[in-house]
Symmetry: C2
Subunit: 175 residues, 2 copies
């Protein structure tokens, strides 16, 4: 359901072709909702069949430029206002933690330090992104920035938690 919306949302910001959209997915949306080329083209056809977007122009090489319809805008609002039917978020990294009691202590501790390294790398990457983008005073930038801030806060929280857990593991081993 959500890729559908991600595409709809980007097309709301600017119209474009599947190819254009694919590049916008790679740059600006990669951290939020990655999508493959294959999936995107399929979804655009479904969106068009459902009347949520329409072909506004046909260019060279069979290029189809899409734009959002009124029904599409309504669907976007409907989806944003109904967060309750999101699928559950599954985090393999937290599943690992849950199962660390099943493996040798050294494997468990090593995993937590790896987790901390990942969080550190993510934090740095997000901070660099924040500092390198030339943010404009428009709504789309404001909310991209807010989503990025979420990523930063999330990575920082993960890092703190992982450090706490490493200490707790060492503490426990010392008994």
């Amino acid at each position: 359901m959500s890729l559908r919306i991600a595409a709809l949302g980007l097309l709301t910001q600017y119209p474009g072709s599947g190819y254009d959209l694919l590049k916008r997915f790679e740059q600006s949306m990669a951290n939020v909702w990655p999508a493959t080329q294959s999936q995107l083209y399929g979804e655009l056809n479904k969106l068009a069949n459902a009347g949520l977007i329409e072909v506004s122009d046909i260019g060279p090489r069979g290029r189809k430029e899409y734009r959002v319809t009124e029904a599409g805008r309504a669907e976007l609002v409907r989806w944003i206002s109904n967060p309750q039917d999101d699928p559950p978020v599954r985090r393999p990294d937290v599943l690992r933690v849950f199962l660390l009691g099943d493996v040798a202590p050294q494997v468990a501790r090593d995993y937590v330090t790896t987790f901390a390294e990942h969080a550190t790398a993510d934090l740095k990457r997000y901070e660099q992104l924040r500092d390198s983008v030339n943010w404009q005073d428009k709504d789309s930038d404001f909310y991209s920035r807010a989503a990025l801030e979420f990523g930063i806060q999330n990575a920082a929280m993960e890092l703190r938690w992982a450090h706490w857990l490493v200490s707790a593991i060492d503490e426990r081993a010392r008994r």
Copy 2:
């Protein structure tokens, strides 16, 4: 890949039938990795075919009790030590934030407050769980507790971030 591991991990803690496992998924694992009955039974057969678990006993009503094999334990360690091939985490709630510039300001603000309410509810639920469980001094409890702590820290972070964002939205509207 991960449900496979979740089942393997639970069976490592105690052997049991699909039905047993299903109940353990509902109680202890629901917050970490939800699974449906249908999926679980299919996965147990696949695990058995792959030699990662084996039927240790057959009881009444065709009950098959499974236990983990040596190959299964090795696979668990392998998976825990290879976090780099996890699929990307997709969060519909963050996607929403990213797209809030496409909708009316009131819809956007309302969503962020709803997000904050969700985080508050999650936080309360996790804290109650933490305080109601009789934690034992064993590894599986230690790491369940650590995973739960992750949930708590995560919910707290989400709440702080959402409050910050509401303030930022109001600030911005005032200009």
